[in-house]
Amino acid sequence: MAAARRERGRPDRTAFTQQRLPAWQPLLSAGIALPLFFTLGLAGLAVGLGLHFSSGTIRELELDYTGALGSNQDCARCTNASATSGPCLCTLHFELAEPFPGPVCLYYQLSNYYQNHRRYGVSRDDLQLSGDPWGLRHPAEECWPYRRDPRGQAVAPCGAVANSLFNDTFALHRLVNGSFMPVPLDSRGISWWTDSNVKFRNPELVNGSLATAFWGTSKPPNWPCAAYLLDAGNPNNTGFVNEDFIVWMRTAALPTFRKLYRRVHQGNFSAGLPRGTYRLDINYSYPVLPFKGTKKKTKKHPDLVRMAELVVHNVIREYYVPNRLLLS
């Protein structure tokens, strides 16, 4: 003990061990703070101004197609329709006072829709969605109660998120020379590239048929058709790789959210939507559920990228609670 202490001898005399490393000791005083403050302020101002002017070209149009009770919207009748009566078609007319430069994006927006609910958000199986043959027939535990149908067949895609897929469809028409001409809506590229190409894969085709590959699975209870029947004619957009489905599966962060529906960048409309009268045909089928809300449709153009957006707004703002009705 004593001897060992002696052997240890004197301590090192490096700047580190003596805590004398070269150091900067700022004292926060006005002398330091003010220049810093002004520099930061000016930088912030510059960025802010840049953003402000660039956002000037952003166009946004919101259309509410919820059809709340009492509103004179065409869609109001669909709201009244009972859940079992099947799809209900309604239309909305709107004017564009000024042209929307392309590419215009069509979003649908839902309000008060808690896609971020914890148990809702986890109710999915990424392994199944990645086309894994084993995973397809063995959905994850999280998918309950949408994991297996009463017959014991695996639900594909399983889980609450997939089950609640938004299935309103929209068609846009422009009044040209007194008649409504359809505006081509592109459904490709609306999801993240990595989602549609890496994360979501269809199961390996069996005998060249996707339906056979899905054999032994059942559709989610709320779905009208099986997954392989989504956009059935298009092999690149059917099953799990259906982009509408992929977009829906990317659960939103907040209860009010938009999801990209279509992009307008083709044909005559590659430069955007010119001013004029438009008609939106809505296949109002989503609120087949025991609650209702408002729906909206918006056009927006938010980014520095100067991409115009048209947002279709489906606001489910408040649920039908007797004697309480809120409008968007």
Binding site: R5, L21, L51, Y120, L127, S130, W144, D195, R250, A252
Partner: protein
């Protein structure tokens, strides 16, 4: 000898005795004693052997774990920490499907990580213990083997109780061994106990008498005795037992017979012994009680805030649970929305049940609020702090080559909050290096002026720069009493400067080399210039003696004065336990060996060898058997003794005495002859190893007068005198020093006069009471009385000079008296149970009716830097109490010398004779102090009370006058009484320093405890000796000084420093830093976690309180552990709020720690509020940015995490005071690490991390300019209030510490540079003159001039800066040197 079994139980209650009797039937010996037999017994006897089961073997196993038991045992230990249980509970909660929040395996990760880190640390520690164990276990020693009939080499671990071990010189003792044989003819064995207690002097151990008498060599095979001794215990100073021989005889065993494990054999060629205790039952290992675990004040405070955090957590969870319940309730049962997912059975949860489940889920989600890494981080930071304290070169003492040791690893920050220091004096404030200063013999004072001058020379070399004090001017007038005052003044001025006395480095080196061989011998102590008068008298005396001896005249013809002088020096030389060694053969004693086979050389030798009448060294031996006259008588004699009939032996004893006296008459002449044969090393090279430094000092002093101690054996002391040659005194008894008797004595036979003399040396207070009362009518008695009163006078003067006084006295015993006393003494010695008590009584019997010879004054020099340290500690707001056993005058003078008391200070002295007086005194003093010294004096003339009351309360000159309190041990005992303690504390609290004299170790600890408990103050006790141990243990922080008085204080301490002055840096710098670092880190920890968790909380409002988190579970779980931990650790380890130089030069800054400025309760809440605000910013800026967009949940969470990380690191940046390379790099590293992990994690696997699926999120975000913009703007807004606050506070109301930092801005070199630059500009800014002047006008400021200069430059700089122009006036007042009274006092 007394039957040991009877006296075994000291106070055995009746029931216990009955119980014992029952036990006796079965295992008689196991109750209180241990029985040891030889392992070499024949197989037939082996059956008799008690089972070996309970006896430990010598294998050392300090490891806690084995390979198998490590995991369960370590986990079990870790779960003793409540926090770990909590985190494991939460992690397990995650496995319950209904409440889980994260991937269960992942949630286990941090807990496992923390547990693993701790486990690996434990494993590593255990492994290093294992390796050192292995090394020790495989050391070899010689063990007797029955089959080979000789000693063979075996590993230590194979040694068992009952084995016979042979040890050679310089070998380390493998177990506790009963010494049975030694190559030393006297059966002695010297051991060095440095490994055990740090004492470097040799200690003697003695072979059992009976074995010593054996004529043949010790043969283990013939050892059939049975040893009964105590159960293993940790008392190093005690060993009791007895040995039962085959014939039924018993001998007592004492600690002098025991060789302790870990000690080293010295000076003895070969010893043999039987193992009594092995392995973990050895005293050395039983004493080894690992590092201490204390909880620091800061940690206690922190734990309260942790509880607050728990409360906040519960509130948040409750809030969320209720919110969720309401949210679920609003959907009617039939109209459940799609996103409200039913349970696995398809049924929806009722709102209440959902709320209950959610509560548990929320606990998991919000668990981060209770910082899992807090405890681990604190431990890491503390280990690093300890490392830095260890490494500080300023805490390293070159002289002794020792450095500071932290023995308690987790109270470093307590060092920064100390309010009271309790210090021992001797060895702590002083060097404990005794220097003989002056003496008085038979009433005549010898001032040793030359010696004083020489001592002054020692401090000359280094103190040229302060050549102001006229040294040594008045020293020559020392003889006249009237000059005492002036001398005293000079003396004091010397001792205050004496801190640089240690001289040049080379000398220090030499001293340190020397000190490795001999304790207590610096050149200063050894070189003593004798006083010419006294030297002359000594020579005269020696001449007389020679003449007398040659003419066979009786000694009584010597004049009383000369006779006193002669006896005085004899007493100085022999009345001690000093061992003589020679440097040529280190540790090899210079001594006369009586070879057994050599022819008889002297008559004395003859007597020694053929008459066993050696009444040898009392305390060292049980001399019962030595009384027998011959070997044939041996057994008979001892049996007589053991049957307690000592009368016959005593009769024999008297005969023997008469006989040996005759023989001894020629002793000295024979010795001379022997001396010639010996003619070994020169006298000058003799070294003395003493148990206490006083002894060495006295022996060296005597040597200066040619009275040289040349050899000491257990039963004889040889001294060499001028003209007379070597005289050999037969030492009959040595009555060792103890703190109750306060004296030691030797009983010797004088070789010249053949009288039995008792020489006693001790504290003046006791010796003076034991003097032979002399009648005043007889002229001789009158003379003696005069001498006594004169001596007492001188003693008082010595005390005033701060010298340690010792009285030397002598008693001549008649043979009757001696025989009578011896009878009692032998009984006491042979007693086993009450031996100590009886020996004490026995000593009291012989130490009376003394004849005063003289007195000595020994200076105990102040340690280097003590006055400065004390002054600085005073300035730092610390109250210093000195608790000493010294007498009041000495203590007060030392107190003045070390600046504990100031001359402008008012001293209250409390000396009371009774509790009542004490009460009244306290009342009066309090009254006096309370009334702010308005009353002039205290009326203490009340008749029937005898008050030794020296208090004075002069009219106060200023309201700030300081107080000092002096109290003596007796009064202290009264004051510590329950009824008075509050008043005493009230008074003591007002005093800047308190001096307790004549206090016992117990009182010391009581005082510390009182202050600690009653005043709720942080206490530090510092001491160096065994008497300080209790005080050190009681205090919040115990500091031991690794001085010459052994290691006991160090062993008990939390920190061990080499010198008192190191306390200054330890407290003011390291303590301050440790406290402020840790306080800031803890606060930051709380802030960080609260801020992070609040983000999640805000999100709950937007996810229906469903317990969903937008931050990916990986980030959530590893945020604390990986991304944000490093910068805070670096800051916690390396940040310096004020540089070391400033902390030392402006000790007032220490008060910030005492007042807990860095971590006050409200600061926790301020940080919480700040965390709340910051989290609001960090959440809602991204929220509004991404509101109404197609942002998915993790695309929102990832920016929020990034922003939070930036904010947290920038927050730390605002709080960091000192930026080094490590700070920069750790911050940058953390951010890069986050991005790296995020990118890799988000790209690694698209399906792997259910339930979160953050694939490609970070990559996508990093292509979005909005991400960068929010990441820049949010932290800036979040930190704005704190930054603003810090800026305003730093500008308008800078704290003293911030001012201190500014002082440090410019290093010395640039200081002058800037100054020279500024001289030109000075004219343009006239205002700065008034600014700079105060510092110039203040002559008392003892601060480095650089600081003054830097102050000036700062003044100019501020004046130049228009933005801060307004601030000057404010600063002016706050500036320490503008009115320096506050800061520079």
């Amino acid at each position: 000898m007394v039957e040991a079994a009877e006296s075994r139980g000291d106070v055995p209650p009746v029931q216990e005795e009955a119980k014992e009797r029952k036990k006796k039937k079965r295992k008689k010996k196991e109750s209180k004693t241990r029985t040891v037999r030889s392992n070499l017994l024949l197989p037939g006897l082996e059956a008799e052997k008690p089972k070996r089961g309970p006896l430990a073997n010598n294998r050392l196993k300090t490891t806690k774990y084995t390979a198998l038991s490590f995991l369960p045992k370590n986990l079990f230990e870790q779960f003793h920490r409540l926090a770990n249980v909590y985190f494991v509970f939460i992690a397990l909660l995650n496995f319950v499907p209904t409440v889980n929040a994260f991937q269960p395996e992942l949630a286990l990760a941090p807990v496992l990580f923390i547990l693993a880190v701790t486990a690996i640390k434990d494993l590593w520690e255990d492994y290093s213990r294992y390796r050192s164990d292995k090394e020790i276990n495989h050391m070899e020693c010689l063990v007797y083997c029955r089959n080979e009939k000789k000693y063979i080499s075996r590993y230590w671990k194979e040694v068992e109780v009952g084995d016979f071990v042979q040890l050679r010189c310089n070998e380390i003792i493998p177990a506790d061994i009963l010494l049975l044989s030694s190559s030393d003819p006297d059966g002695l064995c010297h051991i060095e106990t440095a490994n055990l207690d740090g004492e470097t002097n040799l200690k003697q151990r003695q072979v059992l008498r009976r074995f010593l008498e054996l004529d043949s060599e010790f043969d283990p095979l013939k050892f059939t005795s049975v040893i009964e001794c105590e159960k293993p215990n940790n008392d190093l100073t005690r060993f009791r037992g007895y040995i039962i021989h085959t014939n039924g005889n018993r001998d007592g065993l004492y600690k002098e017979n025991l060789l302790l494990r870990g000690c080293t054999i010295r000076n003895t060629e070969e010893v043999t012994g039987i193992v009594i205790y092995a392995g973990h039952e050895t005293k050395a290992l039983l004493n080894n009680s690992g590092p201490r675990y204390k909880r620091s004040k800061l940690e206690r405070q922190m734990n309260i805030d942790v509880l607050w955090c728990v409360l906040i957590l519960i509130v948040m969870c409750l809030f969320s649970a209720i919110g969720h319940g309401l949210w679920v309730w609003q959907f009617s049962e039939k109209k459940k929305p799609v996103f409200d997912v039913p349970g696995p059975d398809g049924n929806y949860l009722s709102p209440v049940l959902a709320a209950v489940y959610l509560f548990l889920t929320m606990i998991i989600v919000f668990q981060v609020l209770i910082p899992i890494s807090l405890y681990v981080s604190i431990e890491i930071v503390k280990i690093c702090q300890v490392y830095f304290i260890h490494q500080d070169k300023d805490l390293y003492d070159e002289e002794t080559d020792s450095q500071l040791q932290c023995r308690a690893l987790n109270i470093t920050e307590d060092l920064g909050q100390i309010q009271y220091i309790f210090s021992d004096k001797t060895g702590t404030l002083t060097e404990n290096k005794m220097v003989f200063r002056r003496c008085t013999v038979s009433g005549i004072e010898y001032s040793h002026d030359a010696n004083a001058k020489r001592l002054a020379m020692y401090q000359e070399p280094d103190s040229e720069e302060e050549e102001t004090a006229p040294k040594g001017v008045t020293l020559s007038q020392r003889d006249s009493i009237c000059s005492h005052q002036s001398v005293k003044a000079v003396h004091r001025s010397q001792s205050t400067k004496s801190h640089r006395r240690t001289g040049s480095r080379a000398e220090a080196k030499r001293a340190s080399i020397l000190s490795k061989h001999t304790a207590f011998s610096s050149p200063m102590e050894k070189d003593i210039t004798p006083d010419p008068n006294l030297l002359e008298k000594v020579n005269e005396c020696a001449r007389y003696l020679e003449v007398m001896r040659s003419h066979e005249q009786p000694l009584s013809q010597l004049s009383p004065e000369l006779s006193d002088i002669f006896d005085f020096f004899i007493a100085l030389t022999i009345c001690n336990t000093v061992v003589v060694t020679s440097p040529n053969q280190p540790r090899q004693k210079v001594r006369v060996r009586f070879e057994l086979k050599s022819p008889v050389k002297t008559i004395e030798d003859f007597i020694r060898r053929f008459t066993p009448s050696r009444l040898t060294a009392g305390s060292n031996s049980s001399s019962s058997s030595s009384l027998a006259t011959s070997k044939s008588m041996h057994r008979f004699g001892s049996s007589l003794l053991s049957s307690t009939s000592t009368e016959s032996t005593l009769l024999k004893l008297e005969e023997k005495l008469a006989y040996s006296v005759q023989m001894n008459n020629n002793g000295y002449s024979a010795q001379q002859e022997k001396r010639a044969i010996e003619s070994g090393p020169e006298e000058g090279e003799l070294r003395y190893e003493a148990e206490s430094p006083d002894e060495a000092a006295l022996v060296y002093a005597a040597r200066a007068y040619n009275c040289t101690l040349v050899g000491r054996l257990s039963d004889q002391v040889s001294i060499e005198l001028p003209h007379l040659g070597t005289l050999t005194f037969e030492v009959l008894h040595t009555l060792g020093f103890d703190s109750i008797r306060k004296r030691m004595s030797v009983v010797v036979r004088h070789p010249i006069t053949d009288e039995i003399n008792v020489y006693t040396k001790g504290a003046d207070s006791v010796i003076m009471d034991l003097l032979l009362p002399c009648s005043s009518d007889d002229p001789r008695g009158k003379h003696q009385k005069k001498i006594e009163s004169k001596t007492q006078n001188y003693l008082n003067l010595y005390a005033v000079d701060g010298l340690r006084t010792l009285c030397i006295a002598k008693r001549v015993l008649s043979k009757d008296e001696y025989a009578c006393w011896l009878k009692n003494h032998l009984e006491a010695e042979s007693c086993i149970e009450n031996r100590e008590e009886l020996l004490f009584q026995s000593a009291l019997h012989i130490e009376k009716n003394l004849h005063l010879l003289g007195a000595t004054g020994i200076e105990d020099r102040l340690q280097e830097g003590v006055p400065e340290t004390i002054a600085n500690l005073h300035k730092a707001g610390l109250q210093i109490w000195v608790l000493t056993g010294d007498k009041q005058e000495t203590a007060i003078n030392i107190a003045y010398a070390c600046k504990l008391l100031d001359h402008d200070e008012e001293i209250i002295t409390l000396n009371a004779e009774s509790p009542e007086t004490c009460a009244i005194l306290l009342e009066q003093c309090l009254h006096c102090v309370e009334s702010k010294f308005s009353s002039n004096t205290i009326d203490n003339t009340s008749g029937d009370m005898r008050i030794g009351f020296a208090s004075f309360c002069p009219p106060s000159s200023s309201a700030h006058s300081k107080l000092g309190l002096v109290i003596d041990g007796k009064t202290l005992a009264y004051a510590l009484d329950k009824t008075l303690e509050n008043r005493f504390l009230l008074l003591a609290k007002r005093c800047r320093s308190v001096l307790c004299c004549r206090s016992t170790p117990l009182q010391k600890s009581m005082v510390v405890k009182l202050v600690r408990d009653k005043l709720k103050a942080m206490t530090l006790a510092i001491g160096d000796g065994a008497n300080d141990v209790s005080m050190i243990q009681v205090a919040d922080v115990g500091v031991g000084i690794s001085g010459p008085e052994g290691m006991q204080a160090v062993m008990a301490s939390d920190f061990a420093v080499p010198r008192f002055r190191h306390l200054e840096k330890l407290l003011l710098v390291h303590g301050h830093w440790c406290y402020s670092r840790l306080a800031n880190m803890v606060l930051y920890f709380f802030y960080k976690n609260a801020m992070f968790v609040a983000l999640l909380f805000w999100y709950q409002f937007y996810c229906g309180f469903s317990g969903s988190s937008m931050i990916d579970q990986w980030y959530l779980i590893f945020f604390n552990l990986l991304f944000s931990s490093l910068p805070q650790l670096i800051t916690g380890v390396l940040d310096k709020d004020v540089p070391a130089e400033v902390l030392i030069s402006v000790p007032q800054l220490y008060k910030s720690g005492q007042n807990m400025e860095d971590y006050q309760p409200h600061m926790f809440w301020m940080n919480m509020i700040d965390a709340l605000y910051q989290s609001l910013v960090c959440f809602f800026i991204p929220y509004f940015t991404f509101y109404d967009s197609n942002m998915d949940i993790f695309s929102l969470g990832t920016p929020i995490t990034t922003i939070a990380l930036f904010t947290i690191i920038l927050h730390l940046a605002v709080e960091t005071k000192t930026w080094t390379f490590f700070h920069w790099s750790s911050c940058i590293f953390s951010i890069l690490l986050f991005f790296f992990v995020a990118l890799v994690y988000n790209a690694s696997c698209p399906t792997c991390y259910p339930p979160s699926n953050p694939y490609w999120t970070m990559e996508k975000l990093m292509g979005d300019p909005m991400f960068y913009l929010t990441c820049i703007i949010s932290p800036v807004i979040a930190l704005l209030p704190r930054f603003l606050y810090r800026t305003l506070q730093g500008t308008l109301f800078p704290t003293q510490r911030q001012l201190g930092c500014q002082l440090h801005r410019w290093p010395l070199g640039t200081c002058n540079h800037i100054l020279s630059k500024l001289k030109i500009k000075k004219k343009s800014t006239p205002q700065k003159h008034s600014f700079a002047e105060p510092s110039m006008q203040n002559p008392t400021s003892n601060v480095n001039p650089c600081y003054k200069i830097s102050f000036k430059t700062k003044a100019v700089a501020t004046a130049k800066d228009p933005l801060v122009f307004f601030r000057r006036d404010n600063t002016l007042d706050l500036w320490p040197w503008s009115n320096s009274s506050d800061l520079l006092q």
